[in-house]
C-alpha cells in the first residue's frame, strides 16, 4: 500500500513537471510581455534590454528551469503587470474563487441530490420528466450567455441582485470572506447559479441513475416485502448507497468548477484567480500564468490521487490486478 502511494505521488510529481513544461512552451505563443511593459516611445534597445533581464531571450526550457529553481524555494516571482509577488496576489485572490466554488458546489450538491431523488422516485411522473428536460436547458446554452442573461434579468430589469463584484467583504486576517455581509451574500447568488447549474444537472442525473439502480436491488425488495415504509426505504437505504459515487464525482468536479470559474469570474467581475488568470493572459504576465497553472495542476492531481487511492482501497480486484503485473 505504502509503496503504491509513494509510486502515485512520484507519478503526480512527473505530471506536475510535464504540465509546467507544456505551459512554458505555450507562453511563447500568447504574446510578448515586453511590448506591454514598455511605453510607446521605447526604443529597440529598451526592448532588448528588458527581454534580456526577464530572460525571455532564452529557450523556454531554460526559462522553465529558472522558474522551477525559484518555485522550489517558494518564490514565484513578481507579476509583470502589478509588480507585486505572485504568491501574495494568488493568496489574495484565492478566497474569492474558493468561496464561489464552495457555494456553487453546495448549491449543485443540494439541488442535484434533491431533484435526483425526486425524479428517481417519481420516475414516470409528469413533474419528474419536466424537471429532467428543463435541467438540460442549463447545459444546452454556453455559460457566458446564461451569466449575461442572469445579469440582464436580475440586475438590470429587476434590480434585485448586484451585477458585478463580491459586495462588502470582511477581512479575517489571511482570508477575506463575503459570507458575513448581506451585500456579500447577495453578490454570490448569480455567479454561484451560473457556475453551479451545469454541475447540478450532472449530479441530479447521477443521483437519479444510482437511485434507480439501488431501488432494484434485492435488499430493497426484501425491505419492501418486510413492510418497511416507502419513505424509510428511499431515504435510509437507497440514498445512503447512492451517495458514495455522488460524492466521489462531486469531488472530481471540484477541479472543473475552479477551471470554469474563469468564465464566471470574467462575466461577473468576480475578483478571484480565474479573472486574475484571464488578466494575465491578456497582459502576457508569465509569472502569474505559470503560478496559476501550477496551482490548478496541484489541485487536480491531488484530487485525482485521492480518488485513485480510494478506489484502490475499495476494490480488491484492482489491487490484485496491479500486483499481478503485466501479461
Amino acid at each position: 500500500m505504502l509503496a503504491y502511494i509513494l509510486r502515485r505521488v512520484f507519478q503526480s510529481l512527473i505530471v506536475l513537471l510535464a504540465v509546467g513544461l507544456v505551459a512554458f512552451a505555450m507562453f511563447n505563443f500568447v504574446g510578448d510581455p515586453v511590448d506591454n511593459m514598455l511605453g510607446q516611445e521605447r526604443t529597440q534597445a529598451d526592448i532588448e534590454r528588458l527581454r534580456q533581464q526577464l530572460g525571455l531571450d532564452q529557450p523556454f526550457l531554460v526559462q522553465y528551469w529558472k522558474f522551477l529553481e525559484q518555485a522550489a524555494q517558494g518564490n514565484f516571482g513578481l507579476s509583470y503587470r502589478q509588480g507585486r509577488p505572485v504568491a501574495d496576489i494568488l493568496a489574495e485572490r484565492l478566497p474569492a474563487t474558493l468561496e464561489l466554488a464552495l457555494v456553487s458546489g453546495i448549491l449543485a450538491l443540494i439541488g442535484g441530490v434533491v431533484l435526483g431523488i425526486f425524479t428517481a422516485i417519481r420516475r414516470s411522473g409528469v413533474a419528474a420528466n419536466v424537471i429532467m428536460t428543463v435541467s438540460l436547458v442549463g447545459v444546452s446554452l454556453p455559460t457566458f450567455l446564461i451569466g449575461v442573461v442572469l445579469i440582464y434579468v436580475f440586475s438590470v430589469e429587476l434590480g434585485w441582485l448586484p451585477s458585478f463584484g463580491r459586495g462588502e467583504v470582511v477581512d479575517l486576517g489571511w482570508w477575506s470572506t463575503g459570507f458575513l455581509t448581506v451585500s456579500g451574500l447577495k453578490a454570490l447568488i448569480l455567479p454561484a447559479i451560473m457556475l453551479g447549474l451545469y454541475q447540478m444537472t450532472l449530479i441530479m442525473r447521477l443521483v437519479r441513475t444510482e437511485m434507480l439502480e439501488v431501488l432494484r436491488m434485492d435488499y430493497i425488495r426484501f425491505a419492501r416485502a418486510r413492510g418497511i415504509r416507502e419513505k424509510s426505504i428511499n431515504f435510509k437505504h437507497a440514498l445512503k448507497n447512492t451517495l458514495v459515487p455522488v460524492i466521489t464525482i462531486t469531488g472530481l468536479q471540484l477541479g472543473s468548477i475552479i477551471a470554469f470559474a474563469i468564465i464566471t469570474e470574467t462575466v461577473f467581475q468576480w475578483p478571484g484567480v480565474g479573472l486574475l488568470f484571464i488578466n494575465a493572459v491578456q497582459f502576457v504576465d508569465i509569472p502569474v500564468m505559470a503560478a496559476y497553472l501550477m496551482m490548478i495542476s496541484v489541485m487536480f492531481v491531488a484530487i485525482n490521487l485521492i480518488v485513485d487511492m480510494l478506489y484502490f482501497a475499495i476494490d480488491p480486484r484492482l489491487r490484485l490486478d496491479r500486483k499481478g503485473g503485466g501479461h
Partner: protein, 577 residues
Amino acid sequence: MLWNMGKQGLGQSDPNPIRAFYACIARSFLGHVPVKRETTMTLTLPTFGKGRVATTLMLSAAILGAGLAPVSAETLRWARAGDSLTLDPHAQNEGPTHTLAHQIYEPLIIRDMSGAFQPALATDWAPKQGDPNVWVFNLRQGVKYHDGADFTAEDVVFSINRAMSENSNMKELLSSVAEVRATGDHQVEIVTNGPNPILPSNLTNLFMMDKGWAEANNAVDVQDVEGGETTFAATNTNGTGAYKLVSREPDVKTVLTINDGYWGRNEFPMDVTEIVYTPIQNAATRVAALLSGEVDFIQDVPVQDLNRVSNTDGLVVKTAPQNRVIFFGMNMGAADLKNDNVDGKNPLADVRVRRAMSMAINRDAIQQVVMRGQSQPAGMIAPPFVNGWTADMDGSSKTDVAAAKALMAEAGYGDGFAIQLDCPNDRYINDEAICQAAVGMLAQIGITVNLDAKPKAQHFPLITNDQTDFYMLGWGVPTYDSAYIFNFLVHTRGSDRGSWNGTGFSNTDVDAKIVSLESETDLAARNATIQDIWTVVQDEQLYIPIHHQVLNWGMSDKVNVDVSPEDDPKFKFFVLN
C-alpha cells in the same frame, strides 16, 4: 492612441489615452484660441514666446458657491475597463495608472477637463529671460502632503530626477532634460539640451513625491520589476492631491476620500467626498452596473449601448472627440509579401493598389453602422487637434469602387489578389468589426482578405517586429504636433525613429525633413516642411485612414462634468447636482 496598448484589462475597447498631454504650444503655433468651458474655471493660456506666462483665474460664482457649501458625504462609484497598474507615480506611463494617480498626486501643471493647461503645484512658468534652454517654475506655497510635510523645491528636484532614473517609465518624456535645480524654496529651473518649447506639455503627468517620505520608506528608486524588487511606493501613497487613499485591492476596489487640507479646497467644486473605483472588464457587465445604478460613472460605454444608457431615466452620456486616429498600414517595402498569393512581387508596393484599397473603403458606412455615428471619417492620420492637420487632406478620402477597380486593373491586378489583415480585437472601439467591414469592402475590388483578429498582446509585436503585411493601428498625438506622427510612423525604421513604421517606407529626403523639424525654430518654415511631408504621405497613400475616435462617458445625471479629451476624469472638477 497607442500609448497604453496592452496595459488595460480585457475591455473590448479601451479608448483611454495613457497620458494626457496636449501641447497648447501647438495651438499657439496655429494661433488657436483656447476652448472655454463654463463648468470649470477658465484661464488664459500661456502665450508662448512672450517670456511671461499669465495665469488669470476666473472663478465662476457657481464654483465658489460649491466650494463653500456645507460638506456632505457624496460618494461617487466609478468603473472603467482597466485598473491602475501601480501606485508608484513614475513606474508606468499608462492611462488608468495616471488617472488614479491624478486624484492622489499632482504634477506641476495639469490639464483641466477641456484639455487646457492649468497651474497645479506650479503657479506660473516661463522660459528664463536670456536663456532659451532653461524653464523657470514658480511653485505654489503652503501646499502640504497628506502626511503633513511641506511641499518644496527639493521635492520637485527629487521627483523629476526619480522620473528620469533607469527604471522609470516616464524617462522618455524627459529625455531633453539636462538638469533640474532648486533656485529657492519655491522655485526650480529645468535645464534642457537646446530649446524645448514643449517641455510643459511633457510635465502634465509627472507627479511630485515627497523626498523625505520616499527616503524614510526606502522608495527613492522606482521599482525594478525585472529585478524582482517590490517597493513601498507601489502600494502606499503620500501626495498633495485632492483625494487621499483609504484602501486598495488591485483589480478589485480602490477607495479614496477627500483631502480636507487640500490647497484648492475652495477653488474647485470638490463635491465628491468619497470615490469608490472598481474596474469592470466585461463591457456588458459594466453597462449593466450603470443601468442598475450600482455605479454612478463609467468610462468606455460600448457604442451600441449609448442609446440605451441615455434613454434610461437618471443616466446621461457625454461624448467628445478623442485624440486618436484609426488606420490601416500596408507593408509596401518588402520585395515579396509573406501572407499573400502573389509570388515574386509585392502588390502593396504599387501606389495604385494602395490608392485603390483606400478608395474601396466606405468610411461613411463604417461610421454609420459599425460606429453608430461615434466617429469622424478621416483622410489623414492626424487628429484634427494636431498642428499640420488640414481640413482639405482630412476630407480627401473618397469612396469610388469603379475607379478603384480601374486602378487595380491598371496596376495589373484586375483579378485581385489575396492578403492577410492583422487586426486587434481588444484595443480600439469595435476594432474587429471595422476590420470585418473592410474585408467586405475590399472584396468589392477583388482583394480577398483573410482576417486574423487577435488580442493586442499578440497584434502589436507583429507591427514592431515587421511580421505583418496589412494591419490596423491607432495613434494619438500627445504633443499636438505632426512631428510626433512622422517620428514614429513615417521615418525609416531605425534605432531612434520609425519604431512603429511597419510599412517599410523609407525615403531619405523625407527622413531629413523629419529630423530638421526638431531644430527648426522658424515656425513658418517648420510648418511648411510639415506640409511638404504630409504631401508625400498622402501622395504615397502610406496609410489608409479610417476615422477619428469619439470618447464617451456614461454617468448618473447627478454628475455634471465634461468629457476630457484624454479620457482622464479628475474628480475635483466634478459638480454634483
